[in-house]
């Protein structure tokens, strides 16, 4: 009789039947688990961090130009301005501190649904300064904007303990049940005040100091190389563009290239571009020619709306020298014309230009609530003056001290160092060290500057802006604050 390792015929059949039955049940359990995850995640823990601007919701083959890069790209390239100048549709796939490796994966992801004719890449994250980048926003974007192998590749760049979190954010957020007051569908950030302005270094000086060193004057004397990972990704992006017949253009925004290392690194980037016959626009070098001034057109990190206009229009001029025919997507055209869904535009218009915001509030008939927690240093002079222009007395509000106030139609009705309380027939407002309550609705009070505009007639908060970096000392490494630019 033939000997086998396996159990005999009828027993084997029965065993296999049972194993199949158990396997099917396990598959069923796995499907229930995954479905439960989807339902729970969407109903209870839905994080809307990037849902509003979903790249994947765009029509296929509708984007002519894809912009890659960091927040510098987000704040310097405005698709609607670009459309005005070139008639081309564009989309910024940029996130805070986005490394080149992530840009490469983002491009691969984009090519699944789009066939762009040009890639414009902003190159800030090659700078040594990027080590100061905090947060992992691009990985949160990956959670929503990316799929498949590309997403996994991005997640693999994370430290071990964070990988699971981004593969499956339920791993982190499922513990929210401990603090949830009801199991109603709830946006995680609902009661928090958005981070508003972003990075604001309004003190940025208008002209460079006398001892300012610039590579174009003194040469590139620092021996520095593009990081191996960055170079590899840059080459991969180049190869991918070549393979797909996509033009590549690099640019560096006119901010944040302050050190010799930075300048030398940007020179290396220029060398790389030259070697590969790729156009590279260094706005830092061109800033004088363009009359682009920090403090007027940008803060220390990001361009304001007027600066972004200059940069986008300069890039547009360059793109117009290429022969690119637009896909002419009606949906996108409508978006640009109505300026809806163009996140960058809103970000620039409302988030990066606090002076505009404060000026708009000057003549309002609504309630303005000001909360400022000094944390030991002074508020930028421009912001301080902007707040005074709301009707606050400079004797009461001393720069460098905590202050909060409720301003009704340009008149301060109550003010104090840490707490104020106003209660009348129209509204009840209280500011404590922990939070701000407006007609019973609580809001977290984050540190530094927070300004809320509340319409008492409609009983709604029209706008709320926070600047967590209002008195951050970071920029002092680079600027002489005494020569403050006063608006």
């Amino acid at each position: 009789m033939h000997q086998t390792l396996f159990t005999d015929g009828s027993k084997m059949k029965r065993s296999i039947r049972y194993i199949l039955e158990i396997s099917l049940k396990l598959v069923l359990v796995a499907l229930i688990t995954l479905t439960s995850y989807e339902v729970l995640n969407r109903v209870f823990y839905n994080n809307e961090v990037s849902h509003g601007d979903d790249f994947k919701s765009l029509p296929e083959d509708s984007i002519d130009v894809i912009v890659l890069g960091s927040s510098h790209a987000q704040y310097s390239f405005v698709p609607s301005f670009f459309y005005e100048e070139t008639g081309l549709n564009s989309y910024v796939l940029g996130t805070s501190c986005q490394p080149y490796q992530v840009s490469y994966e983002m491009l691969k992801e984009a090519l699944k649904t789009q066939q762009p004719q040009m890639v414009i890449m902003e190159v800030f994250t090659a700078l040594p300064l990027r080590s100061s980048c905090e947060g992992d926003f691009c990985y949160i974007m990956a959670e929503y904007q990316m799929t498949g192998k590309e997403k996994i590749n991005v997640i693999k760049m994370l430290p071990e303990e964070k990988k699971n979190q981004y593969l499956n954010d339920f791993f982190t957020y499922h513990n929210d049940w401990k603090t949830k007051e009801s199991f109603e569908p709830l946006n995680k950030e609902e009661n928090e005040i958005s981070t508003g302005f972003g990075y604001i270094f309004q003190h940025a000086r208008a002209k460079l100091p006398d001892n300012w060193w610039h590579a174009s004057q003194y040469g590139y004397d620092i021996d520095i190389e593009i990081e191996e990972d960055d170079l590899e990704s840059l080459n991969a992006i180049y190869d991918l563009c070549q393979k797909n017949n996509i033009e590549l253009l690099l640019y560096k925004t006119p901010v944040d290239s302050f050190t010799r290392e930075d300048q030398s690194m940007m020179h290396k980037m220029w060398e790389w571009a030259d070697e590969h016959s790729v156009k590279y626009i260094d706005f830092f070098a061109e800033s004088k020619k363009l009359s682009f001034y920090m403090g007027i057109h940008s803060d220390a990190f990001h361009a304001y709306i007027n600066g972004a206009s200059m940069i986008t229009r300069r890039i547009s001029d360059e793109v117009n020298t290429y022969e690119i025919e637009s896909y002419d997507s009606e949906i996108l055209k409508e978006n640009y014309e109505t300026e809806e869904r163009t996140y960058t535009y809103y970000a620039l218009q409302y988030e990066t230009y606090p002076i505009t915001y404060l000026k708009r509030l000057e003549n309002t008939s609504g309630i303005v609530i000001v909360s400022y927690q000094a944390s030991g240093s002074q508020l930028y002079k421009t912001l301080y003056n902007g707040i005074l222009s709301l009707g606050v007395d400079s004797n009461s509000f001393i720069n460098g001290s905590n202050y909060c106030a409720v301003i009704d139609a340009g008149k301060v009705v109550s003010e104090g160092k840490n707490t104020v309380e106003v209660s009348n027939a129209d509204y009840d407002v209280s500011v404590t060290e922990n939070g701000i309550t407006i007609n019973g609705e609580e809001h977290l009070r984050k540190t530094n500057l927070l300004i809320i505009y509340y319409n008492k007639d409609t009983n709604e908060i029209v706008e709320k802006q926070i600047d967590q970096y209002a008195n951050m000392d970071y920029g002092r490494e680079f600027y002489d604050w005494d020569n403050d630019l006063d608006f």
């Binding site: 005999d8 995954l34 439960s36 996994i152 593969l167 499956n168 339920f170």
Partner: protein, 474 residues
């Protein structure tokens, strides 16, 4: 879209430890199960041995060396003992294993670059029982080294017991009964139940315990809550790993006796020990208490035997002085309890009075066990005394001071209530068998409820801070 992400989950670069609550362990058990089902009866012991070796390998090769050495030595000792059944041969046979246990428990093995062998306390008790049983002619000696290695290294029970005996295992490894679907289903469910018990119930209770007891500013009721909850934590923890071990064994075709039988429903400490860690209690009874004379040589000897047995139990649990005190306390209280029970014996005949006394007994016994767990938890009496001082100070219930939210309190009440209700039900009938024979719609609704509650309330993920099983490294 999201579901697709799972299929890209990559295997780790190095072999992960097959911890019993991990996904890898569940997958490993399923593969072992399939292997056991499709292989011929004669091949299965080799497959089980390979799986056990693989399991230990995931913890490190040093653990394999230790267990193989113990198994090989005890296998040879068994053969010799079978031939020369003399007391000194037995003593000589037992010496290396007792010595090994004492060395690793009480001496600084780390200075020699050694690690504590995984499951040493459990498998050394297994080999001791095997040798003593051969000496007493209660079992046949094993001539097949593979079968014997399977017994010593059997992976479902190696890390934290139960301490199963060779007699049953010998039959099952040879005959390997026909596949029983009902049995496998019961085993699988018991295993899942154990994981659920650990990740959803036990680790949550553990987090509350640490908040109550670690915060030195908390006093009174807040400390009392921590102490009581520690009783639940240690029970849920050990019951969970026992369920996983027994369930996994059943899935592979091996029946291992239950290790817990609603222990907190015991009316006396003596009864408690017949319901708690049953495999250890019976081992101590069979190999320490009875050989010392048990209760056959008068009351005084009985008390001395009890004392010695519980001292051994305390020493087995750990090397701190508190484990010794814990064992002694259990023995002394049982002596007092025995005296009181002898006094009241046959004096209460009314059924209602008996029931009332039983309930009071359960409450008092739970209080005693709970207080004694405090000695078990801490390394020295100074720490115990500090907790008791905080307990005796006034302090009303303060949710905020404990660091709990209202939702956590609600969930805690659910966890404790479900534990108590299930324990009462388990005391009266076989819960798993009953559950498995209920209407499938109800069963699947329970499965879904378990999955959803696991996902929401389980202690895992980004904030994962689940403690290891308390008994794993004993």
């Amino acid at each position: 879209m999201f579901i697709g992400n799972y299929f890209y989950y990559e295997l780790p670069e190095s072999l992960p430890q097959l911890t019993t609550t991990s996904f890898y362990f569940v997958a490993f058990v399923f593969l072992t199960f399939v292997l056991c089902r499709i292989l011929k009866c004669a091949i299965r012991p080799y497959a089980i041995l390979a799986c056990s070796l693989f399991f230990l390998y995931s913890y490190g090769t040093k653990h394999i060396i230790a267990v193989v050495a113990v198994a090989a030595l005890s296998f040879i000792a068994g053969l010799v003992l079978n031939k020369y059944k003399k007391w000194y041969v037995l003593a000589l046979s037992l010496l290396p294993f007792v010595g090994l246990l004492v060395y690793f428990k009480y001496f600084n093995y780390e200075s020699l670059g050694l690690v504590f062998p995984l499951g040493l306390s459990f498998y050394s008790f297994k080999v001791i029982s095997y040798l003593v049983d051969i000496y007493k002619d209660e079992i046949e000696v094993e001539h097949n080294p593979i079968y014997y290695l399977d017994y010593v290294m059997f992976f479902p029970v190696i890390t934290a017991g139960p301490i199963h005996r060779y007699e049953n295992f010998r039959k099952e490894i040879r005959e390997y009964k026909e596949f029983d679907y009902k049995d496998a289903k019961g085993g699988g469910f018991q295993m899942v139940l154990g994981v659920y018990e650990k990740v959803v119930f036990c680790d949550f209770v553990a987090s509350v315990v640490s908040r109550c007891l670690n915060n030195v500013e908390l006093t009174g009721v807040n400390v009392l809550i921590g102490i009581v909850l520690y009783s639940f934590q240690i029970y849920l923890d050990f019951d969970a790993i026992s369920n996983i071990s027994i369930g996994c064994s059943r899935l592979l075709g091996f029946n291992i006796e239950k290790n817990f039988n609603s222990p907190y429903l015991a009316r006396t400490l003596k009864e408690f020990w017949s319901r708690w860690h049953i495999s250890l209690s019976t081992w101590l009874k069979d190999y320490i208490y009875i050989p010392l004379g048990g209760n056959r040589k008068g009351k005084i000897r009985r008390y001395i035997n009890l004392f010695i047995t519980f001292v051994v139990s305390g020493l087995w649990h750990g090397n701190t002085v508190n484990f010794l005190y814990w064992g002694i306390a259990h023995a002394l209280i049982q002596v007092v309890e025995d005296m009181i029970m002898s006094f009241f014996k046959d004096k209460v005949k009314n059924k209602i009075a008996t029931a009332v006394i039983s309930v009071i007994g359960v409450v008092i016994n739970f209080a005693i066990v709970t207080l004694l767990w405090l000695i078990f938890k801490y390394e020295n009496m100074a720490e115990v005394s500090a907790v008791l001082t905080r307990l005796s100070a006034s302090g009303s219930f303060d949710l905020e001071a404990i660091g709990m939210t209202v939702n956590e309190l609600r969930w805690l009440i659910v966890v404790i209530s479900v534990t108590v209700i299930l324990d009462v039900l388990r005391n009266n009938f076989d819960m798993i068998e009953t559950f498995n024979s209920t209407f499938f719609v109800i069963r699947w609704l329970v499965y879904i409820l378990m999955i959803v509650s696991f996902m929401i309330f389980g202690v895992y993920g980004g904030s994962f801070d689940a403690s290891d099983f308390i008994y794993r490294w004993f």
